[in-house]
Symmetry: C2
Subunit: 340 residues, 2 copies
Amino acid sequence: MAVTIRDVAKASGVHISTVSRTFSAPHLVNPETRTRVLATAEQLGYRPNRAARALITGRTHNIGLIVADIANPFFPPMIKAAETHARRRDYHVFVADTDEDPVAETELVRALAKQVDGILLCSPRMSDDQIEQLRREVPLVVVNRLITGLPAVVMDVGQGARSAVAHLVGLGHRHLVYLSGPRGSWTNREIRRAAGAAARADGAELTVLGPHQPVSSAGADAAETVLATGATAVLAYNDLMAIGLLQSLQDRGVAVPERVSVVGFDDIATSALVRPTLTTVANPTAAAGRAAVDMLLQQGDDGSTGQVTLRTDLVIRNSTGPGPYAPAGATAQVAAYAKE
Amino acid sequence: MAVTIRDVAKASGVHISTVSRTFSAPHLVNPETRTRVLATAEQLGYRPNRAARALITGRTHNIGLIVADIANPFFPPMIKAAETHARRRDYHVFVADTDEDPVAETELVRALAKQVDGILLCSPRMSDDQIEQLRREVPLVVVNRLITGLPAVVMDVGQGARSAVAHLVGLGHRHLVYLSGPRGSWTNREIRRAAGAAARADGAELTVLGPHQPVSSAGADAAETVLATGATAVLAYNDLMAIGLLQSLQDRGVAVPERVSVVGFDDIATSALVRPTLTTVANPTAAAGRAAVDMLLQQGDDGSTGQVTLRTDLVIRNSTGPGPYAPAGATAQVAAYAKE
DNA sequence: CTCCATTCGGCAAACGTTTGCAACAGATTA
DNA sequence: TAATCTGTTGCAAACGTTTGCCGAATGGAG
């Protein structure tokens, strides 16, 4: 049916091993022979059978990418970047979705383990122990989580949280709320900790609410509670929650940013589309995807288990404004930033 | 290294073929033997090698999913549904992104062809001829495009367009604009055609603008041109463009829906998050993903090439309102709808 | 008691590659 | 001239399964 290496060999009058080498070790075959083989291969429409190759080499040239929720707008840019980057290196990507379920994560890793050369575990919700266990069964790179000894790519959300708090305190806010994300999220813990420390250092109060599912309805539902705290600024685990809160506040007649400032995390595309546009901490998700792929692919070569931390950037838009203790000129400053 | 069928055979005192049958044809092996084999397999942590299996059966139990742009929020729900559905049937999904490039589409299909049992081609931008050609090389199901003889899953966007036009005309609009999507999109042609016919039948005028890239900035950029036409209502190729337009109009001080009504397509999550919330034609993307997987998997069984059309639904929100020829009571009616 | 059918399990070939080894020719060196 | 090296190719085993075929064992019917 399909054209195999054998057909190409016969058609070009060489042994199958020569055809094989033409593709997998070109320097071992006479240039003349090589072009001849390539020509007939092209003409016959030969495509190497990856299953056969995988069987003997033990390398599938596939990688697995496991995320909590494909539909969460945080992930698609990362998936896209990883896929494109991998393809450029002749790898294909299995994408799988765990629906935020830690149990599904383990099962998926195991199911995928045998048919990939490694797995990118993005924002895992399971425990460190479980991850370390899986690491023994299949090469792993963890994204958005730091575990000693495991290769990882993380965004510096701690820095992002500090920038956000500094921004808010600078605007004259003294009582902040942190809207927590899901249980099990390393990112959530980091943000909470960093924001808490920064607030304390700056002489502001930080009230922590949650945990919440990382979706907009959770943000919307939290509006009442947020108002009840008396805080004038909110930092949310992610943009979805921030946007939900934003709209819910406005629907209640609470002006943003006049009465309450809101800061999100991630800088998903939607954040620039809502009004007021959302001030948020931009994560380099695409870069993270690429870095993770590189790390996974190098992992085979040496035994190095690097850990990469990527910079985050506070993007100041229109959902943050002067607070009750605002210094003179704060408004102008924000306006200037926001214009970009 | 890894535990193979041979290890299991040795450990349970049977021949490898018995182990194989235990997994792939359980009814052919004595229940007693079977449980024994299963037990040792479990204990040894045996996992069948899919490459070896694929090599001999010719079936990889993988499927490919090719979309124009993973980061376009229209696709993730479909990818998610397809992936989950496929996994339930013990298939894994390769996801690939063409960046809206017709050439990349062809290459990707060819690259994937050998390591999948079939491919889901979503919203392809290439020509019908090219698709038919590829169809000869690998089982294909096309989503969002109708080609005679090819299995396909489409959303009934024509119906959606008619509903939208009827809604707008009913509100008293007599001059509409259609903001076209990308060249090569079947969906775009269908909407344009259906909207044009519906407008004509209802005695309204339809001005077609475009083509545009299906992104929010394209919608924003079109604002001037839209206003220049003098139309009072706009139907956009997708929600992203509609939202871009919406915000751009508001930024120019043009009230929505008071002066211009806007209708989108897709009902992406963002549409309920912007203000005013967007009236849009909801596509059953998740259902489409599942249907496409089913169709692809059945395709092997019989030679049937079904074509499924999925219903679309107009979701009336707050971006549409009475037009210049509004009948009495139109406002109240919209308000009632919108409340849901 | 023989025969036949049925159930079960073993044997070995096959799937399409890769790769260590050996063969050979021609070139280079001693 | 003999010995060694280098570049190119062929040979055959191996990767981990599936599956058609055959034989052994079992049990029921005649």
